[in-house]
Amino acid sequence: MIWNKTKECMSRDEMSALQSARLVKTVDYVYHNVPFYREKMQQLGLLPGDIKGIEDIVKLPFTTKDDLRDNYPFGLFAVPDSQIVRIHASSGTTGKPTVVGYTRKDLDIWSECVARCLTMAGVTNKDIVQVAYGYGLFTGGLGAHSGAEKIGAMVVPMSTGNSKKLTTLMVDFGATAICCTPSYLLHISEILKAEGLLDKIKIKSAICGAEPWTEEMRIDLEKSLNIHAHDIYGLSEVMGPGVACDCIYHKGLHVCEDHFYPEIINSATMQPQKQGELGELVFTTITKEGLPLLRYRTKDLTTIDYSVCDCGRTSARLGRFKGRVDDMLIIRGVNVFPSQVEAALAEVKELSHHYMMIVDRVNNLDTLEIQVEVNPEYLTDEIRGIEKLTAKIGHVINQALGLNAKIKIVEPMTLKRSEGKAVHVIDNRKLY
């Protein structure tokens, strides 16, 4: 099923023409309404008229999270405060949060995009959708909520924080779809299993986002819950969840390209990457009123594919996210992404998907400890068996990272479960 065939299946030429027209309008709009962009364009010797089509986008300046912070809270808004009807803000773990504002039209477009994504995941007006993202300043809860309402589903606004109630209502209401982070879904599946409720649920699809996850974890969740699990992508600066999502063919995430123009750049040279090459994802919003952004650097690493999907959609597809530019750890001089560790551990069938990386510095040497849980059915009563497993995991990690890690097997169900974005790294090095 396709929510908006006109926009999701238009030819590449038509899409380019639409994007060109919208970009030209956006550039003119920000030049006249956002002093920050006017100044940046003037520094580059650019006038709105210099941008004649989508191919001219490379002339435009980039925007970063720091630009949002420097203009905290409302400095980059393009409309008077009176036209802003909703505020969201990022978690802001370091320093001030980044604040985003939406006009009424922005909210309409947002729910339209989420509606497209949920439809990709097979959700219709006959579904009962539990939204288990946090409601509040975080875009996840309200974003998924409005999209599910738009398609006419019965929405159950669970938010996070009460897993017991969530599973109870899942059974009692016969919920058929759930929106939450993948790590929370994993936690829920463990609770359902422990309580013997797996046969009693009617969930058929899960729409998971807000953090990167591996293909193996997606497939495992599908198997253990007997569902379709979809990856929904978004970020508050650009809009929130609903920027992109994968369809039932799971061959990449379809971008709502008529609203958000994607580019993949090399973050060192800032030049565009070729199709299929890994790089940093950059978005330009081409219909937003409240907080329009030119070439916003997401710091997310992925690839892009413009071929037509089996589902019939022609929209550009993002490959599986490989982590974030700033997630990268440097351990003994080696670049390490948590996503590499996650993918390597997923190959070891004895392990659960939960893990924790602990980085430290002992006598001026970086150390990496990886804590893993062994699925109870693979435990043995012989030290030799456990040592063999530890060695096997160590080998897999070494192959993936080119680095030796200390593997620590901990008791099942003891690594911290997360209801929101999972924390996988504790860096105890005091380097600054």
């Binding site: 062994v374 435990l379 043995t380 009563d381 012989e382 030290i383 456990i386 097997i409 008791e411 099942p412």
Partner: protein, 142 residues
Amino acid sequence: MLAKQLSVFIENRQGRLGEVLEVLKKNDVNILSLSLADTTEYGLLRLIVNQPEQGKEVLAKNGFSTMLTDILVIKITHKVGSLQKFLEILASNGVNIEYMYGLSIDGEEASVVLKASDNENACKIISDIGIDTLSNEQIKNF
């Protein structure tokens, strides 16, 4: 005949062993013998109890990684050199001992718990030389 041992994987954390024993106590599971294999990171607690199945169930319910393992319980004459002689027979038949610990002393006789590289084969060799292996039912009456 093979008997069942209750095996528990425990992290080296203060009080963790006590928590295992607490659960067993609350559920009226009696421990007849135990051995604890320790490494720097974790330990393997091996228990001979009066009700192995129930022990496994209550520990699992309380979040412990527990499994039932096949082991051999053997009565040996309580005399100098009897264990050594017994092990010699196993070794000469190509049977390796994975681990072993004592169970109890009952007058003239003592008993040991052991896990062999090949439990079935070990069982056969032992009965061929006329030594009894005990079941969980028999152990209970110690």
